[in-house]
Amino acid sequence: MDLYEYQGKELFRRHGIPVSDGRLATTPDEARSAAQELGGQVVVKAQVLTGGRGKAGGVKLADGPDEADARAREILGLDIRGHVVRKLWIERASDIAKEYYLSVTFDRGAKKPLLMLTKEGGVEIEQVAAESPDALARLHVDPLAGFHPFAARRLIYAAGIDDPDEQRQILPIVTRLYECFTGSDAMLCEINPLIVTPEGEVRALDAKVTVDDNALFEHPDIAEMQDLDAVPPEERAAREKGVTYVKLDGEVGILGNGAGLVMSTLDVVALAGGRPANFCDLGGGGQAQGVVDALEVITADPQVRSILFNIFGGITRGDEVARGILQALGQMSISHPIVVRLDGTNAEEGRRILAEAAPANLHVEPTMLEAARRAVELAA
């Protein structure tokens, strides 16, 4: 789960990481009152779960309430990389002398948290890593040893931050960001930029936090930050039905059992010259209700022209799946051509059941490859 900047900053604040004072606004009026309360110059920042908002015109300075109102009118409703701006963060403006970068990420490869700090902040960290890797200090924390203050010191020295006053301020920020990371079950806690003001004060000017979905049950306060409106509507519908669904851009609707098999099916469809319309995993079962739910989600996509069912019966028995499909087709009316490939446990029996019922739009194919070719033909 990705948090908005304002939510990430709220977490930072709770962990004692210095951030600028600000207010949330969803209307120009609220932006005006926020600017009023904060006083002086403010920044009006689009809250979207994607990068590049600055270039897209989603971050603007405003001198006082009137300008804040005007800037809010400009930014609300903007489409930034497919995300429509519905919320603004109105923040007291900061003077910036230096822009650093600090983050803690969950390093899957090393299976350890990774701290990163560089004086070259304000740009994408991948760019720093590629262009000036020596400027980027990296340090893993061994979960068995836990975090100890030396890690912050080592990071600061390795990044070449040699102003003692900055060192003194950044030291606790590293420690607290790590506490925020573990205490929130985060996969990422990123401050970019971590600014130094002309007066020498260090502060987090942005916040990017991703929290492990599987750990949300331990953090009800974070879970309730979730903004369902930000999820694409078709994925939201799938989630409500308990179906794993990812929208893609093609014409062949795909569903199967097991994430790996479905991914492989997408690839095979592409090899056959088609374009997958989605990823849809039924999970272990092939019961009628699951099939109905998945078909409803898939057929709601107007781009879908044919549907490919790829089932490998393991624990799930092929005959049961066949009955599930027939029952589902009985419950809803679908005009799309449907190609079914059934294999594994009791597959022959399953294919026999489908052949006997033989709905007009149902095509049974013996192998995954042949099924994919057929589905692509039917979508043409």
């Binding site: 068995l144 599987n214 990812v246 790996g260 997408l266 997958p276 995993d281 393991g314």
Partner: protein, 293 residues
């Protein structure tokens, strides 16, 4: 021989009295696995079709000599179950449960490494050594004994490939599902190393997918340390960046973790990568034919 599970496996099922645990535990027993105990706190003294149930794993170890556990409890209790098993002296942990908090698994992973414990999962289908033992949810019926080691991050995709092998007359030494979560107990490298040392395994098929860099590490390991042939398949060439494809671990972050990148890394290390499950099976058949000649 075979790896991970075999005739010496003495299995305790944590969560045997639950619906899934019972179904798969008994099914594993049906395929010849020595299922010696179940554990469900508060149900000690009961039995599930003759399998004695204990309150604690320690009791199952003390009284039944269990050495392997299958964890079939809900995700929020799974970490505790794993620590319990390890503390009780269990040497092999197979965690079918999925969706464990990643930070918890980070702790488990780094801890059990220091103890030399073998772990598969979370979110894995288990391990099957045809004719010897089956621990997990892999359908034993579609596999037969043979010389192909199979290791995969995915369940049904593994069955698919195993099935294609079976249809070509080939069998498996062991089928190992390492699991689809972001942090799992064993890497491809861990399992490849064991296949390399296994008498029964002649050739290994590695089934990867998008996300992480385990396939890339495996490629380097294969080049540097494996004498047995390895063939690979990667799923997810058409997956878009930033989207989780079913498995929590199957996500392309930025430009890292793509199927194309993994394929290229493997090929650069001399590992042939099949385009479809069918092609992989055919490549295996060719190699095995060549080996037996």
């Amino acid at each position: 021989m075979a790896i991970v599970v075999d005739n010496d496996t003495r299995l305790v099922v944590q969560g045997l009295t639950g619906r899934e645990g019972r179904f798969h535990g008994l099914r594993n027993r049906g395929h010849g696995t020595q299922v010696v105990a179940g554990v469900t706190p508060g149900k000690g003294g009961q039995d599930v079709e003759g399998v004695p149930v204990f309150d604690t794993v320690a009791d199952a170890v003390a009284e039944m000599g269990a050495n392997t556990t299958m964890v079939f409890v809900p995700a929020r209790f799974a970490t505790d179950a794993i620590y319990e098993a390890v503390d009780a002296g269990i040497g092999t942990v197979i965690c079918i449960a999925e969706g464990l908090p990643a930070h918890e698994m980070l702790g488990v992973y780094n801890y059990i490494r220091t103890l030399g414990i073998t772990m598969l999962g979370p979110n894995c289908p288990g391990a099957l050594s045809p004719g010897k033992a089956n621990v997990g949810i892999i359908p034993a019926e579609i596999f037969r004994e043979g010389g192909v080691g199979l290791v995969s991050r995915s369940g049904t995709l593994t069955y698919q490939i195993g099935h294609e092998l079976t249809q070509l007359g080939l069998g498996n030494s062991t089928i190992v599902g390492i699991g689809g979560d972001p942090v799992v107990g064993s890497s491809f490298v861990d399992v490849l190393r064991r296949f390399e040392g296994d008498d029964e395994t002649e050739l290994v098929v590695m089934v990867g997918e998008i996300g992480g860099d385990e396939e890339e590490k495996a490629a380097r390991f294969i080049e540097a340390e494996m004498t047995k042939p390895v063939l690979a398949y990667i799923a997810g060439f058409t997956a878009p960046p930033g989207k989780t494809m079913g498995h929590a671990g199957a996500i392309i972050s930025g430009s890292s973790g793509t199927a194309q990148g993994k394929k290229e890394a493997l090929e650069a290390c001399g590992v042939q990568v099949g385009t479809t499950p069918t092609e992989v099976a055919q490549l295996v058949a060719e190699r095995m034919g060549a080996r037996s000649r």
